[in-house]
Symmetry: C2
Subunit: 327 residues, 2 copies
Amino acid sequence: MTEKAPWITYRPELKVLDCTIRDGGLINKHQLSDDLVSATYHACIAAGIDYMEIGYKNSPRLFSPDEFGPWRHCNEEDMRRIVGEHDPEATGLKLTAMADATKSDWQKQIGPADESVLSMIRVAFYAHQVSEAAEMIQHAHEMGYETCANLMAVSNFSESEIDTVLATVRDTPAQIMVIVDSFGHLYREQIDALYTKYTQALEGTGKEIGLHMHNNLQLAFANTIEGIILGANRADATVFGLGRGAGNCPMELLLGFLRNPKFKLRPIIKLIQDYIAPLREQIEWGPLVPYNLTGQMNLHPRNAIEWREGDEKDDFVAFFDKVVADV
Amino acid sequence: MTEKAPWITYRPELKVLDCTIRDGGLINKHQLSDDLVSATYHACIAAGIDYMEIGYKNSPRLFSPDEFGPWRHCNEEDMRRIVGEHDPEATGLKLTAMADATKSDWQKQIGPADESVLSMIRVAFYAHQVSEAAEMIQHAHEMGYETCANLMAVSNFSESEIDTVLATVRDTPAQIMVIVDSFGHLYREQIDALYTKYTQALEGTGKEIGLHMHNNLQLAFANTIEGIILGANRADATVFGLGRGAGNCPMELLLGFLRNPKFKLRPIIKLIQDYIAPLREQIEWGPLVPYNLTGQMNLHPRNAIEWREGDEKDDFVAFFDKVVADV
């Protein structure tokens, strides 16, 4: 087995993280039913997926439980209602939650790992929040979790800002640093440049590179493949691409690409059929024209999301004129 | 300007071909309205697109005009009803039609270029049909057309078959040889290998490499970008990805990627809004789950197309079990 596996063989180190519930929940304030979360959990186990991100550890002060569903806070009792005692060894699946800098009461919300069903905390942050992110990673590490650093919206930061973030993350205990294309803006050559930058900055630390791509330009899967070819060993995906705005790298495409026989596609197809495709009748996501345009313009998808909620949602030309005029 | 343009500059040699009508027409036997074809023609001109493929030159004996629309035959009077005398110089747009080996009465159907609104004939063929394809290319060349060789379903042929095809095409007057991923099966590393094979086989002839990708794995745009990065100077796309089965590389994504200021996106967005998105209420295309699966399995999409026309069209698990069991 070479480090960069040739075609049709595989790298056993490559691990897949499902963030269907965490990212998909952003569409409807994490008002996802227990039934859906449970079905996703069991599908992840059956499919041989390595990690499932069940939601956010975000502050109930900032995100009221009256308005936001349980997967915005990931209280232990809510998670256990779905996963019981959850045995990572027996199931082959580790659970993870994401905590945002400035949006989490992390000293209170993130307690000892041996009292939690969670195995990993992923810390999401913007460049200017890297100092708090480093403290959060340190705290989660001391509590006994695996840790992961997710610099969001990387296409929105200068190279020197990214360099500063990487130098800071280098000195944290985070085992993974993720390339996060929140705006769905990156083309393959930019993925290559970022992968090189991340690996050079973290050289010798043993930290892995992760991939979290959005599908504004129908490139989420392609950019994930690209990162894997380059050597990234952690890849995020969501079932049927469920996720805010344009959505994410589709799990059913990623598992079809990977050659590790432990991954099984059928449970994912069944989850799509029984749960995720029917969801489309209630909530919208995918690489629609307005998301194509915000991706091309390197803009946050919020303008496109609002447009799709308005009366002129199908007036793509008006949105084009607005987006171009705004810039 | 370097041969492989660095980011944000462009190669003026790179030419874009719209095959919305030709490939999209395969969904409904080319029963596309004059109004739609005319709107596409005018959008191509306004968008600065280099070539528009208006349909097939296929035999009326094999494809009865009672059953198939005019864009299956591309008779001169039908084309002129839309484009008038068509001036390639004044409009910046050349028109092309595709002729299939074994399906065209090419000696009769392809007359002198100076009596036609067409500037180019693209010859489509499978590997075993390469001898007839070479004769067709020679004939079209002698009639005064630009010519192009499209080996279809390249993922379905062995390397030695492809080598034989390339050696044959090398000696024809075809100006372009297109990498055609009819099954939507190819990943980036396979695009790289084919690009290398095609360029080496055609070295010194001045022939250009073209790209025609299908979207089964949501990789049509990514693979087109990949070929362009490698140096291919001809790229096919269709508006809104319209095309049989999973559809094609979306023109709106390709134009957003290209940096040549002659390309304008707005006319394409307007065509989507006014004509192509509304078509979705009548005919289906796009990277749906059954097409994901045939793409992964390197199968012709016909099984998936039939499945989507049946009563169990949304039973993805049953299709999965059928496709896996069939192989």
